[in-house]
Amino acid sequence: MKKPGKMLSEVLKSLFKKPATLRYPYIKEKMPKNFRGLINFIQEKCIGCKICMRDCPANVINIIKIADKKFEAEFKNDQCLFCAQCVESCPRDTLEVTPEYELATLDRSSLKVRYHAKPDAETKTEPQVEIK
C-alpha cells in the first residue's frame, strides 16, 4: 500500500549530514580552471588591431592609441557579459580571463577601468581607476 512520507528517511538522514550550502562571505568557493571572470588586459602585448572592440557584444572595450605601437585599453566592466569572446578573438593573447567574480560595488564608476601604458616595473599592468 502506498503511504505518505516517502522522503522522510532522506530528510532524517540529512540531519546528520553537512549542509549543502557554504557560509559565503567567510568561506568562498574556488572557481574552476578557465572560469570566465573579470577580463585582464596585458598592455605590452597589444598591437591595436581592435578585433576585440569589434567582436564585443556589449561595447565594453575601447582601445586607445597613445603613441606609436603603444595602446591603452578602457574597460566598462559594468556592461561586461563575461562571454570571453574578446579573449578568443585576440590574435596576440593580450586579454585573459581571471577567476575574479566578486565585482559587486556601490559605485558604478569604480567598474570603469583604464589600463595605463607605464607599468610599475611589473609584467602585468595593474588596473587603475580613472577618476573624473
Binding site: 503511504k3 522522503m7 532522506e10 572560469f35 567582436d55 557579459l81 563575461f82
Partner: protein, 408 residues
C-alpha cells in the same frame, strides 16, 4: 451562481514573471481564462539586426537563462545552414553534451519548482541540491554555471579533456541514482499523486489542436520530439526513445520529465564514450552569404524555432525567435478550465513557462475600452516624434539632415 472575474498578475506572488491572467470564476471553479502577455518585451529581435552575427550569439543566449544553450544552438544552426558550414563531428558531439546537461538542470529545476508550487518544499530543496552537481559540471566545462558561451559558428569554443569526460560520466552516475530516487518519489508519494492527478487535464485531441510541444505535448501522448523527428547535431547517431505518457495531466507531465532525465543519462553516456577525435571548430566567415534558414531545436521546454535571413553583410536582416512557451500557452487556457483557482500556479508551472523568452510583441490597449489597436511602423514613428515634441525635443532639423545625407 454569480460569476466573479479576478486578475492574476501582472505582479502576483504566484507568478515568477509578469503576465496577466484574467480568470472568471463560478464559485471556486474556473470557467474562462483570458491572458495577456507583453510585459517583458525586450526588443531582442530588433537588437539582433543591429549587431554582427558573432555578437548575436551572446545576445540570443540571454533570451532565456535556463535554456540558454538551446537558443544559441538554434541560431548557430540556422546561420551554419545559410553559410553551408560543415561542423566537425567532435564539435557536434560537444554541443550535444552541453545541450543534454542543460536538459538535466532544467528538468531538475522544474521538479523543484513544481514541488514548491504544491507546497512540497522538501522536494524543492533536495532536487535543487542535486542540481548543483550538473551546474558545477557545466561550470567546469564551459567556465560558467549559466550562459555557457560554448557555441560559435562552425563548432564549439572549448574542447573536452579526458579528465572532463571522466567527470561527466561520474556525475551522470550520481545523478542517475538520484533521479531513480525521484522517480520513486513521484510514483509512490501519495500526497504528490493525489495533488497532481487530474489537475490541468489536456486531452490528446486538445493538445494536437492547440499545438502543444515538448513535455506538455508528450504528457498528452503526442510523440513529437525534434531530436527524433528532425535530428540535428549528434542526435542522428544516438540511440534513445521519446518518453510519452497517457495521464494528460500535471502528474503525467512530471512523469514525462523524470522519464526524460533517464533517457538523457543514456544519451550522455553514448556521447562521451563515442566522442570522436578531431577538430572542434571550422573557420567561419564574418560576412554570411545571402539566404534564409529555419532551425528547430528541442529545448528542455519544447521545440525552439529560429528563422534567420541573411543579406550578405555581417549583420542579419531578420531573426525570428519562437520560444517553446508560446506554443504551450494556448493549451494553458484549456488546462485551467473547470479546475479550481488554487490549481492555477501548478497548472501554469507545469508547462515550465518562461514569459521573458516568449514576449516578441507588445499590443497597445485603450485604457477605457480595453480594445486593441494595430499600429504600423509609420504611425509608431509619428507617435514617437510627437511624444518627444511635447517634451521639448524636436528632431525636424536632424531629420532633414538625415534625408539630405541619404539622397546625396
Amino acid at each position: 451562481m454569480a460569476k466573479v472575474t479576478i486578475p492574476i498578475g501582472p505582479q502576483h506572488p504566484a507568478l515568477k514573471e509578469p503576465a496577466c491572467f484574467t480568470i472568471t470564476l463560478s464559485g471556486e471553479q474556473i470557467t474562462e481564462v483570458d491572458m495577456r502577455l507583453g510585459y517583458n518585451h525586450r526588443g531582442v529581435e530588433k537588437a539582433c539586426e543591429e549587431r554582427t552575427y558573432l555578437q548575436d550569439i551572446y545576445l540570443l543566449e540571454r533570451v532565456c537563462g535556463i535554456c540558454s544553450h538551446a537558443h544559441s544552438s538554434a541560431f548557430v544552426q540556422a546561420v551554419e545552414e545559410i553559410a553551408a558550414l560543415e561542423v566537425p563531428k567532435r564539435g557536434l558531439y560537444i554541443r550535444t553534451i552541453i545541450g543534454e546537461l542543460e536538459r538535466i538542470h532544467s528538468h531538475l529545476l522544474w521538479l523543484g519548482v513544481a514541488g514548491h508550487e504544491i507546497g512540497f518544499d522538501t522536494l524543492l530543496m533536495y532536487s535543487w541540491r542535486d542540481r548543483e552537481v550538473v551546474m558545477e559540471l557545466l561550470a567546469r566545462i564551459s567556465g560558467n554555471r549559466v550562459n555557457y558561451a560554448m557555441n560559435t559558428f562552425g563548432g564549439v569554443r572549448r574542447d573536452l579533456t579526458p579528465d572532463l569526460c571522466a567527470e561527466i560520466l561520474a556525475a551522470v552516475d550520481i545523478l542517475e541514482e538520484r533521479t531513480k530516487y525521484y522517480i520513486g518519489v513521484v510514483m509512490e508519494e501519495v500526497t504528490l499523486i493525489q495533488r497532481l492527478s487530474g489537475v490541468g487535464y489536456l486531452s490528446h485531441e486538445d493538445a494536437v489542436a492547440r499545438g502543444a510541444v515538448g513535455p506538455t505535448g508528450r504528457a498528452s501522448e503526442i510523440a513529437s520530439d525534434t531530436r527524433k523527428d528532425d535530428p540535428y547535431a549528434a542526435y542522428p547517431y544516438l540511440d534513445f526513445h521519446t518518453v510519452t505518457d497517457n495521464h494528460c495531466d500535471v502528474y503525467g507531465r512530471a512523469l514525462v520529465r523524470v522519464g526524460e532525465l533517464m533517457q538523457t543519462y543514456k544519451i550522455l553516456r553514448q556521447l562521451v564514450q563515442e566522442l570522436p577525435d578531431g577538430p572542434i571548430v571550422v573557420k567561419a566567415p564574418r560576412k554570411i552569404p545571402a539566404g534564409e534558414a529555419l532551425s528547430r531545436y528541442e529545448a528542455p521546454r519544447g521545440e525552439d524555432v529560429y528563422y534567420v535571413k541573411a543579406n550578405g553583410t555581417d549583420k542579419p536582416e531578420r531573426v525570428k525567435v519562437r520560444a517553446p512557451t508560446l506554443a504551450n500557452l494556448a493549451s494553458v487556457a484549456k488546462m485551467m478550465e473547470n479546475n479550481y483557482l488554487a490549481d492555477v500556479p501548478i497548472i501554469l508551472a507545469a508547462i515550465d513557462p518562461c514569459f521573458s523568452c516568449t514576449d516578441r510583441m507588445i499590443e497597445t490597449l485603450n485604457m477605457d475600452s480595453r480594445a486593441g489597436r494595430l499600429t504600423d511602423f509609420r504611425q509608431l514613428r509619428q507617435f514617437s516624434i510627437n511624444w518627444y515634441k511635447k517634451r521639448g525635443l524636436d528632431f525636424t532639423a536632424l531629420n532633414k539632415k538625415l534625408i539630405l545625407k541619404q539622397d546625396s
